[in-house]
Subunit: 489 residues, 4 copies
């Protein structure tokens, strides 16, 4: 397993293909750094014996100790450990731990390549396993690149005015394929060793060229990352872990890129488009059952802390708001646990979470994230967005005023009061706020996407059978015997 230093040193060696603010930058640019700091935690703690067995695992391929972010879950316990690891790491970095994107892409490919092979007698799974061994060995990180630019949303890929609205195969050669298009909103692509590309939706036969999955190094030839980092106003004097961490998203442009055959994991099998897209989405929604509770934990903790700073911790509406965070966090965490327990073994050997539970859990948090910010802002008060800049707390002319007035609950010193308000400001009134709000809605699929998944996957017919039985509709009476014993009835 790599150390954090090896990881960032590897990044530094990569070819610059990242564009930020009109410049081409290296992977040690200060605006990319906060994201690298997040990823580093996953390397750092893997060295820490306290986290042994949680952030590390024994490879099902090689029996070696590996980072869990490169490990294929084999049973419910593995999924629960994944969920737990993500919640704990997300608490540590103040939010998105980022590395699960590539992890979920690996999980999805492990299942789908096997299933495609079973139908078409292809050799994708073998290629993939070889790739994964290399990935585990090198302790790599990857961005999972799924969302296409999409163009006109009412049209399928093959119907678009611009055929590049979705990434697609433009040429097939003996040694590989040529692809073109762009993936957007690809979190952590700028901090990743690799990029793994997956289809984003169900496809028809006409969309055959859009049925493509592959992996490549993130600095591969003719791949361009147009990157938008999010970072906090830099602290001048008062330091805080929260400020060390950040994130960036990239538009990943494939401008006639050659993908060598051994890195191609799907090519033309349009009937598996929906399957692979959903495998990734559902695995990623399972990851959210770890990170979303952590986001609630952080907002809950900040709310409780600022309530204490305002000395209103015992007021009824504050207690109620705090318990709403608890409700949100634990219901979605419970959904993750249920998805593990009622998950299933796929033909590939990978153990996959129950899709119903990952969707109801992810949706809940997607629906409530803005409300969670609302609750923190309501308890904190207007000061959360009108807090004078840090410089005012340093400057000779204003410092005494700041120290005097920042204290509300005298049990906190001026410095601690300032640290609390600064954290609250960072949480609710910084570029990071909008990122967490919108990622909370859209990351892994917005509530509307989970509703669509549920409309397709939830067994409404069995519910109707119950109603028919109770209504006395005769033809249903015999069905009563079959009232399904499946727990997700």
């Amino acid at each position: 397993m790599r150390t954090p230093e090896e990881y960032s040193s590897d990044l530094k060696k990569m070819k610059p293909n990242i564009y930020v603010g009109g410049e081409k930058v290296n992977r040690d640019d200060s605006r990319i750094k906060p994201g690298i700091n997040v990823m580093s935690v996953t390397f750092d703690l893997a060295q820490d014996p306290a986290w042994d067995g949680l952030i590390t695992a024994t490879s099902s391929l090689t029996d070696k100790q590996i980072n869990r972010f490169t490990y294929l879950p084999q049973n419910p316990y593995d999924l629960m450990q994944k969920q737990k690891m993500i919640r704990l790491l997300a608490q540590r970095v103040g939010g998105c731990i980022q590395r699960c994107m590539g992890y979920d892409a690996l999980i999805a490919l492990s299942v789908a390549t096997k299933e495609i092979d079973e139908k078409y007698d292809t050799e994708y799974n073998q290629r993939f396993i070889k790739y994964l061994e290399h990935y585990q060995e090198r302790d790599l990180t990857a961005a999972g690149a799924q969302t296409d630019m999409k163009g006109d949303r009412t049209k399928r890929p093959s119907e678009q005015l611009d055929p590049d609205a979705y990434v697609h195969v433009v040429d097939v050669r003996d040694d590989g394929i040529i692809v073109r298009g762009a993936k957007i909103s690809i979190t952590m692509a700028a901090c990743a060793d690799e990029i793994i590309v997956l289809p984003t939706r169900a496809l028809t036969e006409q969309d055959r060229d859009y049925a493509v999955a592959f992996a490549i190094p993130a600095d591969w030839d003719r791949v361009h990352l147009v990157t938008r980092p999010v970072w906090l106003r830099e602290r001048k004097s008062i330091k805080a872990p929260f400020c060390e961490y950040g994130v960036s998203d990239s538009m990943v442009i494939f401008d006639n890129v050659f993908i060598p055959k051994e890195k191609v994991f799907m090519c033309g099998e349009w009937d598996f488009g929906r399957r692979l897209a959903l495998l990734f989405a559902n695995s990623h929604r399972h990851s959210y059952s770890g990170c979303k509770p952590a986001v609630s934990d952080i907002l809950c903790g900040a709310t409780a802390l600022v309530a204490e700073a305002n000395n209103i911790e015992r007021i009824a509406h504050v207690r109620e708001k705090l318990s709403a965070f608890a409700g949100g966090a634990e219901l979605s965490y419970a959904a993750g646990i249920a998805s593990a327990l009622y998950g299933s073994k796929t033909s590939s050997g990978t153990f996959f979470p129950n899709p119903i539970y990952v969707n109801v859990g992810r949706r809940l948090m997607g629906e409530t994230i803005y409300h969670e910010f609302n609750m923190l802002a309501e308890v904190a008060g207007g000061l959360s967005v009108t807090l004078p800049f840090e410089e005012e707390f340093i400057s000779e002319e204003t410092r005494a005023y700041m120290d005097k007035y920042i204290v509300r609950n005298p049990k906190f010193s001026p410095e601690d009061s300032h640290l609390i308000w600064r954290l609250v400001e960072n949480l609710v009134a910084s570029p990071v706020s909008a990122w967490y709000q919108i990622a909370g809605v859209h990351g892994g699929g917005s509530p509307i996407m989970e509703t669509i998944t549920l409309s397709a996957e939830y067994d409404y017919e069995s519910k109707k059978s119950i109603a028919k039985y109770l209504a006395g509709i005769t033809s249903a009476l015999d069905q009563s015997a079959d009232l399904d014993l499946n727990p997700s009835m």
Copy 2:
């Protein structure tokens, strides 16, 4: 295990002490019958091999096969089986299966009697175990009677103007105790063999006389059940399982009742008042993680069915509403699963569900039950409450009109259309509707009670530690090492 016939025959033998509508009635009164029908299902299916191991279990006391409603859970799997059994039975009877009330009282007493003994060197647990062996052997049913009349809510039991506002001990004799007071809203007391009394709240030393728990036969001397049954308008011609089932609640009056010593399980140990009250509440909230999803299942199925009858099943807002039922049902079911997995072994050997998860799950459903009825009513339309009486569908003068106009989606016959609308009417516009709405809010404790429990039990301090760590509050930095690995962080 008793047959349904043995059960109702036993009831018939009981002394009449039930008052309904100004009359003293026997336990074969037609208004009590629908509740007995519900209970009978728990006896009936226990005879059915298909339900073996689900509705039956091997006694931890005697190794005999017993009905699961009399069995003390020993491990997470037992809790999951309890939850599953309740969901399936509740689907079968169209809602509350009722027998879990007494079951949860048994579970609570199994734990509390042991803990009291450990502190006070009493012999309650031994008495209780003896009682339970008899209970299992006889395959009994019991009402758990917890909620007192309460009087002035701002005062503790011992501060009330009327000391009988809470059930209390008025005399202690060598062979037993005398109690007085009334318990209200006691579901199924009129169909139960036994009544098990538990304290309803935290107590102080002054409330010592109110710290009392015991069991007695439901027709015991000087015990009066003032009962309010809920039943549906009787069907004249079209029969439906839903109409066979119903429920009743009783005010259970103890008018200087003698309780023999061997049936007294707490007497004066005021410091265990809160513990026993919460053990029952939390065990019962665990039961709700089975029955509440079933109520959602039924409402969901009826909504889907009436949407089909209206031929609007594919309309976006209908799909969204259906998926909201799915979300509610599965999130609360998942909370039950998580509570089992993160439950704990008590000193008594009983395995007890995690209190956080049972509370977040129960609260969710308590908050959404009215909205679920709203959704069904919205999809069904005004006809759900303006549907002409069944007699109009029979009478010569009007029948042809009814048959002609009741059909909306021609794929349903007039009779099936009528059955569907009649079920919907029974669900949303009958005495049963209000019962399910209000039981949905209050049964097992209203949302406000779960919020209070969470305020007391959820670890907000650990959340604050996360916030302090991220804020950079130095004293918390060392705490970072301790960021709790407990999954319900």
Copy 3:
């Protein structure tokens, strides 16, 4: 103006054509009576000088003093008086005052007949005015019958398998027309002198036969009312105004009914189908800005009262719930006021409320009605549905127990405590509860209908212009001058 006695005496003279519970009944049937009691209040108070100018008005046709329920609004103040009258009367009868249905049908016809005449040179308005003079003179009441049985909701009237799914013209004769079909969920038809029929939706040229509006006496030949009354469990001893009032809905069947020419107000003008349907709907939604606040007032008052009876009136969550009632009631009342102020004079002279405001106001209450019941039930507690029957409070055997235990707040006597709980039970756990819940959702159009109306009528384009202007989209820059000064921007 008629007295209540004249009104019910007139009803008694009518031909029996009402079917309830398999019987044909007269208009003095005890199950119809509660609805008649409601209507009587509108006659009674019109005799009371205190209500002069509110429940009475000076006819714009004849300058005579008439009941406001027969008066065409001429200006904003008239609309405000209508709204105020309805709120006050609804408080008096505990909910729906019922007489506005026919009133809104008159208002809609006054406008539409004029507009049809203007386009087609017909003489509907003249016929209508003549009818209205008679109606005012006789101080009549009418049911507005709009909602058809509808059949398959995905098909237009002319596409239905059964052409009678919507009321339609089957023959046109010199002296009138023959109509067939059924209207459902027609509130108060059983207590009305007249029935006024209007189309229920937009129509195409193929639906020409469905473009029909007319008025007839409610006991007209070949008209059958299949009626479902809602009434409360009769009180034995404790009387309360709330129990005197009730409601019924009818399926109104037209079995080849002859309508004389002078009572036909639309016949074949399909292009006015949508207009007339919406005029009625919007006028009726304006009426809801009076009655819906009253329903909130009643539920609010009952919640405050039962909170006092529970002695929890000062608890934070109770205060918050009470203020939620205030918010709902006053926002929808305010919407009515705004609709009056921004209403418009139609070509007929009738002053018509602004459609945007009536729709946002009505929708708000339709969305929150179940939640309002939820709040009352939550504050009241489980006793609201488990309250023993009144007979238990009378019977010698149980009366002392009831009197003892029903008191929670000692400031209320047993009798007043009982009256409070009985009212609460009547409100949340009686047949009336479901009626108010479902009428609250669907009466005058469900929230989904108001959303559809808003989608069609609200000026989203002007909002887009604002966004384009702020975005700097050049073509919009000149539009900046036009940023609409219309107050409902």
Copy 4:
């Protein structure tokens, strides 16, 4: 009336007492400029004949034409014009028009000074009128400074550890008073000519020194503005009105400031503390009935526009979201209209809005603001926060990619598509987003404050009377005659 140029030239002449980012800056600092641009619109349009009578008015003091932001409302129409003006101006500047803060302080003082004089025979009103004549003549702007630092929220001003937690009088001299303390979150103080100080809460006799109100120039001696401006990332090439506007908030520090007698409008009359605080709050909540609908209008327009850019404008859930904006905007606008119509003439002659309606309207928007951002973000998609920086759309290396991929709906050019997404980003993922979210919750008082006001002011007793009457509680029967005819029953 001043021109925009005169206004900013006046500002430039002021003494620098503003601190931003560790520096003392002048009132032409680029970070303050966006706020000045907002204020300038109120001067600019007052010169435009199209806005005559809306943004201008005839002074009730001098009969001169003045800017409406300096005018005392005399009747309901004036309040409606105020509301309309604010909505239209807020649409124009993309949100908060800012100048109403001082305006509402003037309105509040006009009423309170009169009432204090009436009780204490003081001469505050005369002083105030003189000040107002000067204010109207000079066409001034003022920040209303109400919110104190507050210290420990569980303690009254006189109980605080630091007596300066609330602004208070430290010395009374013949020619004036000396005050100390700090007001926070004072919007637009850095762009104002004047600062008007008001008390923030109810006071007791012990808090006498905290009962103080006065006005002074914003650059007055020993007054320091520690200012936090909010501004957008500056545009390099694509310009948009939205980017020209911004806001700043100041902590306004009074370090032993001398206030000349003639500018003191309250000094020691603690029993008017609550009254004056509420007069300002309620007048300001009335202003929100203009600006909050405008914020909804802007978010609604942006949502509709980006839906069009995504070509999903006709999708059901989008239509529903759009109509939710309409509902929020028009309900709160209607509340403003009702508050005008049911307002009252105060003894000072100023016409004051009805407090119930301003509170229900303001609260609605405070409760929904985060949800409105949620809806826009949900419809826009993740791109709203991952949009590459503007520089990437300019740079030679990336421009072609950006232009190619930014277009989704081909009816928009790349430039217009970019402008739309940039506006959306500015709205949901910029410093301005958090400002509007949190100001939406807290500006003018958070929902909890409106609930508290309603708890004190709404007539719950009259609602209880209705319930008592309907319940049949005899003592209430006679009250039935009094069922209040007040429209806000």
